[in-house]
Each structure stands twice: as C-alpha cells, then as structure tokens.
C-alpha cells in the first residue's frame, strides 16, 4: 500500500492546557481515499487532536507540524481549514432547528446573485447535494421536522457544499438507530469509492472493524499504534487491547442472578403526547419486574421506551391517560416525581448532562440531591452527613475524583454516570430504571457500571435497563421486553435472546399477547 499517496500527516503534535498535557507527541498519517478511524477512551485526546487539525486551536497554540496535501498548513481558525477542504462534523450537530434543510446547508456559504441570496440556485444545488448523501426530502423542510439520522445527512451535505476533501466525523452514529447507522456507513463506503478521505472517531468498535482501512489508537494523549485492518487482521478485541493497554476478558462481569418474586407491575399503561394530544406514546403497555432481576427494554429510537419509563416515574413525561402501577401487591398512584421517589422508584435518565445532573454542582451536592431529607434535621442540612454519604459512594463505586468537592462538570462521562447512580442509590430505591446507562462511556467504565447494576440486583432491587445496544441488553439482562411504536411487542428470556430475534420483535407490529 506504499504506492497510495499520503493526504495528511500530523507530526509530533503536543498540546498543553494550563496544568494538563492533553496531547504529547502524537503522530497521525492518513492516506488519500481511505477511511481512517481514531480510537481511544474518553480523555485519550481524540477530540483535541481533531480540534488542532481543524484550526479550533490555531497554529501557534500547539507544537508540531501538520502536513496536508504535501505542504505544511498553519490554520488560524476553522474557516482556514474549511477553505483547504477539511470539514469536521461534531457529535452535537451544528444545525439550526428552525431553518430549512437548504438554508442550513448553505448557512454562511449562501450562493449570491447581485448581493442577494439566490434561493432558486440554492434549492437546486441543495437537491444535488442531498442526492449525493441519499437524502430524500424537500429542501424547504425544517430541520426540526426530520429525524436525527437525516439531520446527520444534512450535516454531511453541508460539508459537500464546501467542497470537502477530508471529512472528519466525531461519533457520527452515537445518536443513530441501527438502520440509520447502516445507511451512514454505506454512505462512507461510497465516498471512499469516489476518492474522498474520511476520519472517523467512534466508540462503536464493530462499526470501525467493519468500515475502517486503518485505525490509529490514542491513549492518555499519546499515539499507541496504527493498525492496518486487512493486513493486521484486526478485530474488536485487538482494538480494545490497544485502547486500554491490556486484554479485557469478558465485556460483562460474571453474574449469577438471584431472582425473586414479582414486586412491581405496570398494567395497561396509556399515555398521550404532551403537546399533540392525538398522539399516543404508550399504547396499553404492561410489564412486570421481579426482585433481583435485570429487565431490558429493547427498541428502535423513538419506540417510546424513555417515554414509558418517565411517565411511570411520577408522570414526568406526557399526559397520563390510564393504567395502574402495583408495587408489593398494592396499587400506588405516582402523581409527581416526589411521589415516585417516596415509593422507592429511581430513574437515571439517558441524557445525564441535559437532565440528569446539575453541572454546576460538586459530587457531594449531586449525590444527595434527590433525597435531601435523608441528611437534614428539621429542614437544616447536616454537612457532615452529606460528606460522609458522598464519600461512601465515591469509594463504593470507585468514582475517580480527588475529593467529593470536585465539580461534576470536570468528570469524565463514566464517572459522571457513577455520580448519577450514586444519587439514585442514595434514595434507597426498590426499582431502578436506567435509561441508556452506558451511552458515551468508554469500555473500561462500562464494565464497572455493569458490575454496579448486577450488585444492585443482588441486593434484591429490581433493575430496568433501556438500551439501544443489543449486545449490552443480551449480556446484562435476565429478561428483555421489545418495544415498537409505543407498544410492547415481545418478551424474551435471556437464554433465547439473540440480536436477530430481538431485532425482529423490535420492528414488528405484532403485539404481545396480553396477560
């Protein structure tokens, strides 16, 4: 492969922040026309490296050289790198929800005629670009009216509008369902065949294995190795070994479930959408949870799993219509989150930054936030008890932070998730609902979180896990419900669970025979 010309070479890149060396002596060689994956745990320096490349950190703020298309590049800002054909698509999409697809594609790059925007040309060019990324929509459609998968395509179309030579994708499939992910990966293959070079950052190792030509692995701000997928015969385990620096045995801790009686039951649950009342988001759903059991909920994005969980959790989503909740043989009515907490329910949300944590808080305050009554006497908080509780959970969950006075915003995703878990464990719940508990968390931390979940179940609590990663559900759960369009369509025991039969139930309209 030595005959393939090199498009980009980053040489000995070192980037320091006050007190922290984020990158030290990192090297990256990308050949023209390949898909190059960058792997590493959170905090390994992947995003920083891409920011150096795209000019977010301008020339002069780092050490080392960037050789692009044969000469040294010194980008002063993002515009400079974009002019050179390097376009980065961030994990958080940079689209304006209230504007149309065409307006977004040409934002800051509008085709002009006599100084005014030429909308006719813009729409025509937009259609052309959309065809190239396989997006079939009216260019006048507003961004907020299309799904995340299609939004991602708009971002890529936007990149093409800027005449991209090197496309950088940061976690492109993180928010996508299986079908959209597959479409995106196919698209990348198509680009490759047309000679466009891509760099892809991803946590999803199976995708990387399937699509990448070369993989560069970063760890702790250093380059570990660059693997050639075909020549080196790389598989997922090989990548993981590079990322964590050791062999990782099983992806899931060993666990023998101790399953008891059914103690929690939801019957005939019906909920309507909070704004458009004609939409029913939960259609007569029923499920049970036993003590000591880990119950999974599988479904595509938008199937209504989060909506079900939140509506059960003190009606914190949607408009309750009908249905009963039975706990320990007695019907309970949960009209508010406070009711739900008092009745031993806990809900760990899928988006810990937006709705799970107050990022201004420190670990201590976050840990006790959902049950202040436990550390207060006549309404006055006891600082010592607060500290002791937080410290106990920090040790138990092995949260990596110097002290519990550390701000949660400074923690990595995995450690933030541990703080959220601590917050809900502190409320001493009987039933924990965990919504995407490992999203955006690296491999090592995932393993720990699985261990925590299993320990909670072993304490006799019921645990509900909502996840979009089928291997996770299969590896962790004792029983899995499948959800499709607001209805429960199947119930599969651990022994029978395979990705194939889960997927079948997740996409079928056949309803689970009502019990």
């Amino acid at each position: 492969m030595n005959d393939v010309p090199t498009l980009l070479e980053m040489r000995s890149i070192t980037k320091e922040f006050p007190g922290v060396k984020a990158l030290s002596d990192v090297n990256l060689v990308v050949r023209a026309g390949e898909i190059h994956a960058i792997c590493g745990e959170n905090g390994a320096g992947k995003s920083t490296l891409m920011k150096v490349l795209s000019g977010v950190y301008p020339y002069g703020s780092y050490d080392g050289q960037i050789i692009y298309q044969g000469s040294e590049s010194r980008f002063s800002d993002i515009r400079a790198s974009e002019n050179a054909g390097i376009v980065i698509i961030h994990q958080e999409l940079a689209l304006i929800p209230g504007m149309s697809i065409a307006e977004n594609i040409f934002l800051g790059n509008e085709p002009r005629k006599h100084g005014a925007i030429d909308w006719k040309a813009a729409n025509r060019m937009a259609l052309d670009l959309m065809a190239r990324v396989g997006l079939q929509e009216d260019p006048d459609t507003l961004i907020k009216d299309i799904g995340v998968g299609k939004q991602q395509l708009v971002e890529i179309a936007k990149a093409f509008a800027k005449d991209v030579k090197l496309l950088i994708l940061d976690e492109p499939t993180a928010a996508l369902n299986e079908a959209d992910s597959k479409h995106l990966l196919d698209l990348l293959r198509g680009f490759r065949s047309r000679g466009i070079t891509s760099i892809m950052i991803s946590h999803k190792l199976n995708e990387i294995e399937a699509i990448a030509d070369q993989i560069t692995i970063l760890r702790d701000g250093r380059t570990v190795e660059t693997l050639d997928v075909k020549a080196d015969g790389v598989d997922e385990d090989r990548i993981v070994r590079g990322m964590v620096g050791r062999e990782l045995g099983s992806r899931f801790p060993d666990h023998t479930p101790k399953i008891g009686e059914v103690f929690f039951e939801v019957r005939n649950w019906n909920v309507r959408h909070p704004i458009s009342a004609e939409r029913q988001v939960c259609k007569n759903e029923s499920f049970v949870v036993r003590r000591g059991e880990i119950v999974g909920f599988a479904g595509l994005m938008g199937a209504g799993r989060t909506e079900l969980a939140m509506s059960v959790f003190g009606r914190s989503y949607g408009v309750y219509e009908s249905g009963t909740i039975i706990k320990d043989g007695k019907e309970i009515v949960l009209k508010s989150v406070a009711d739900a907490i008092d009745n031993g329910l806990a809900y760990v949300s899928e988006d810990r930054k937006a709705i799970g944590l107050n990022l201004l808080d420190d670990i201590k305050t976050s840990t006790v936030a959902a049950k202040l009554s436990k550390i207060s006497h006549r309404g006055v908080l006891d600082e010592v008890e607060e500290y002791q509780a937080a410290e106990a959970y920090r040790k138990e969950l092995r949260t990596k932070a110097p002290t519990v006075d550390e701000s949660v915003s400074k923690l990595s995703g995995g450690n933030q998730q541990k703080v959220v878990l601590a917050k809900w464990m502190f409320t001493d719940p009987d039933l924990l609902i965990l919504d995407e508990p490992t999203r955006g968390i690296d491999v090592g931390a995932k393993y720990e979180i699985y261990g925590i979940i299993q320990r909670l179940a072993d304490q006799g609590k019921g645990v509900v896990v909502i996840s979009s990663e089928l291997p996770e559900l299969i590896g962790l759960c004792d029983r899995i419900y499948t959800v499709f369009e607001g209805a429960i369509t199947g119930e599969i025991a651990r022994a029978d669970a395979t990705p194939e039969n889960l997927m079948k139930q997740m996409t079928s309209t056949k309803k689970l025979a009502s019990r």
């Binding site: 006050p18 702790d220 305050t365 932070a401």
Partner: protein, 432 residues
C-alpha cells in the same frame, strides 16, 4: 507545607469556588483604601459609616431577594415599582386611615406578599417568563403608585421613621459610647468565636484536617478585632446616633437568608432549579413551588425596602423606587452570580452592593458629579463581569483561583490510577 502556605490556604477559606468573591473583597478593600486616603479619612469616619449603611440598606435588602431570584434563573424588574406602591399605601394607611405604625409595617409586608403571590402565580403556574411578568409589574405598580398617590408626596409619622432613620437607643452608664452598639458588637464577637470552633469540629468530622490551631486563633483575633473596632466606630457617632436600625434589619436578613440558602433543603432547591431545572424536577424538586417562592419572597423584601426608604425620607414620593431594580441586579452580578442562574451567594451580593455603595459614597465625598459617577459605576459593572467571563473562557476560575489551585491539590489524595477525567477543560462540560 510551610506556614505561609498554611496561611494562604486556610485564612481565606481555601476553595476556588469562592475565588470570585475574594476578587470582589479585594476590590472592595482597595476602593475603601483609595477613598480613605483620597478623602483624608472621611470614608471611615463614624458619621460616614453610619450614613453609608443607612443610605444603602434598602438596596442591599433588595439584593438578597434578587440573588435568590437570579440563582433560580429569573429576574425581577418590578422591585422598584413594588417598593413605591407599597410605600405610598403604607404612608396613606398611617396618615389617612390612622393605622398605628407597627400595624402599617405588617400591612406593608402583606401587600408585598400579595403582589409576590400575583407575580409568582404567573411565573410558576402559568409559565410566563419572569422578565415579562415583572416588566408588566413594573408598569402596573408604578401606575398604581401614581394612581393612589396622585403623584404626590405623603409624609409618614415619627415612630415609623425609625425603621429607616432610627438608631439603637441610648441607655445605661455614660461610657462615652452607645452602650447598645457595644453590646451588639460583643454578641457578634462571641458568635464569631463559636462559629470558628464549630467549623473546626465539622472539618474534623469530614475527615479533613482542620486548619492549624494558630491559624484559627489568628483568624478569630482578626475578626474579633474588626468587630470590636467597628462597634466602637458605630458607637462613637454623635450622641443620638449609633448603629442604624435599618442596618440591624439588614444584618438579621443577611444572616437568616445566608443560612437558608446554604444550609437548608429549600435553599438548595433554588440552586438546583437554577442550575438545571429539568434535572431538579427529575430529582423530585417541586419546581413550581420553588419559583413561586422566590418571586413572592422578592416582592416581600421589595415591600420592606420600600418602607425603609419611605421611613428614611420621612415621606412617600412619586420618584421612590426609580432605578432600584438596576442597582440590586448590578450588586448581584458584581457579587459573582451567573446570568444563567444556579450560581451566586448572598454574601457575594452584599459585597457587590457594598462595592457600588462605597464607590458612590467616596465619589460624592470628593464632589464628583452624578453623571461621572454613573459612568464609573457602569464601567465597574461591565469590568467585573467581563473579567470573570474572560477568566472562565481561559479555563481558569479566576486569577486568584489559579493562585490557590496548587494549595488545594495538596490536600487531595492522588488517585491510585491515572485519572480518566476529561483532559480538556474547555470541552469538559460538553463532550464525554
């Protein structure tokens, strides 16, 4: 660790989170120092200190309520109008309906509560943004003031004036000082020593080393010295003057609300709502109740501030409350509160308010005109917040914060394995 480091770490509290407040305190000290020299000692003379407290107590009282409103993520533009509206009604209640003045004060607080409930209802239960509700309130209650008062000034009786212009009484043997003020100072000194001892106990219970004993003693000595000095200062004003009653009201409120916001569940809920309302709601915080409370509380404090101003002015007038909301909001932001909510302290806001007050007073003593004073105050507000924003964007909490950081690291146990904390400070809040 050397003694110097001990001193730096422990004397000023030691964490970065209140670094901003140190910045403001140093600014305050610098301003006081500059004016003390510039005015040849007038700034810290008894009569000026007394006047400073009397002139600003009502703004500082507003700042307490405004801090809570801003921490919860709202704003209240109506405080001046609510104060004026309450002021005119209370003045009328005494001069025309012959209400005795203590009853009139209760009446005034009740008006504040009713107005607060009105505004709180729209903000919390209907969901109209507080900016709009209180902008409406600003017009509504200003108009109400003019409607009721016919834009005239209504005098208030003697007894009532004490809450704005009264002083601690003179009693006991002639010591050459005001005895009541001396007793107040003594009580404060005892409280300070008690608190320091309590704080040491708490530190020990939290497995943290309390500051070395000599630092605690030094700290107590400084504070007791300061209190003693301040008490003597206030007690040695002209006969008939001493620590002002409005200052005592302020002091009580500052202590009570500081305790409430820091040490109670209710107070913590306000920070939770302002920091992330959805997260707070999903943690069982009753969002509506918190929002209703902060808006209502603000109006009650505005009513109190209005009454104190009327009492000090001896009459309620149509200009009352003009521009107060801006002074209160400025104090809160100079004191380190975040525009987006969730961050800020009562003590910080009081310091912020005092910075403005001392600046105002010093410039007036120097005979600088109000036009220039306004320009200077505007620049100070902009600069204070800009420095903070700049420092945050640089990944430092503040200059002083970064100076303190090395000392803070010392007392943390180094993690057993390399920390996997996000390495990019600026990105930390976004990625992961």
């Amino acid at each position: 660790m050397s003694r110097i480091k001990d001193l730096q770490k422990n004397l000023f509290g030691g964490t970065t989170s209140n670094a901003r407040q140190f910045g403001m305190i140093f600014t305050l000290v610098a301003i006081v120092l500059i004016f003390q020299i510039w005015t040849n000692g007038l700034t810290l003379r008894s009569d000026n200190l007394i006047a400073l407290f009397q002139q600003n107590s009502y703004i500082l009282i507003l700042a307490i309520g405004m801090l809570m409103v801003i921490v919860a993520g709202h704003i209240d533009l109506s405080v001046g109008s609510v104060a004026a509206f309450t002021g005119i009604l209370v003045a009328k209640s005494m001069t025309e309906w012959d209400l005795p003045w203590p009853a009139a004060i209760v009446f005034g607080l009740a008006i504040g509560a009713v107005i607060g409930a009105w505004q709180g209802f729209w903000v919390a239960y209907v969901g109209v943004p507080a900016f709009i509700v209180t902008l409406a309130g600003m017009l509504l209650f200003r108009g109400g003031n003019q409607f009721i008062g016919n834009a005239q000034s209504i005098p208030v009786p003697e007894g009532f004036r004490d809450i704005g212009s009264g002083f601690l009484p003179e009693f006991g043997p002639n010591t050459g000082y005001n005895n009541a003020t001396l007793l107040l100072g003594l009580a404060a000194a005892v409280a300070v020593v008690w608190r320091e001892l309590q704080a040491r106990k708490t530190r020990r219970a939290m497995d943290a080393d309390p500051a070395p004993m000599w630092i605690s003693v030094l700290r107590m000595a400084i504070m007791v010295g300061v209190i003693a000095f301040a008490a003597l200062r206030f007690a040695s004003g002209r006969v008939g003057t001493s620590f002002p009653i409005s200052g005592i009201i302020l002091l009580v409120l500052v202590i009570a609300y500081s305790f409430y916001t820091r040490n109670t569940a209710g107070g913590r809920h306000i920070y939770a709502v302002g920091g992330n309302s959805r997260a707070a709601e999903l943690s069982g915080v009753k969002l509506k109740r918190v929002n209703f409370f902060v808006m209502m509380n603000m109006s009650v404090l505005a009513a109190l501030a209005g009454m104190i101003f009327v009492a000090r002015s001896a009459a309620s007038g149509p200009q009352d409350g003009n521009g107060w909301e801006l002074d209160a909001i400025a104090a809160v932001f100079i004191g380190g509160a975040a525009v987006a909510g969730g961050i800020g302290t009562i003590s910080g806001s009081i310091v912020g308010g005092l910075v403005m007050a001392v600046l105002n007073n010093g410039l007036q003593l120097e005979g600088v005109g109000t036009d220039k004073v306004q320009i200077i105050k505007g620049l100070v507000l902009l600069l204070a917040v800009a420095v903070d924003v700049y420092n945050k964007s640089q990944g430092r909490f503040s200059i002083i914060g970064s100076l303190m950081r090395p000392f803070r690291r010392d007392d943390s146990v180094p993690p057993a394995s390399p920390p996997d904390a996000e390495r990019e400070p600026a990105k930390a809040a976004v990625s992961g």
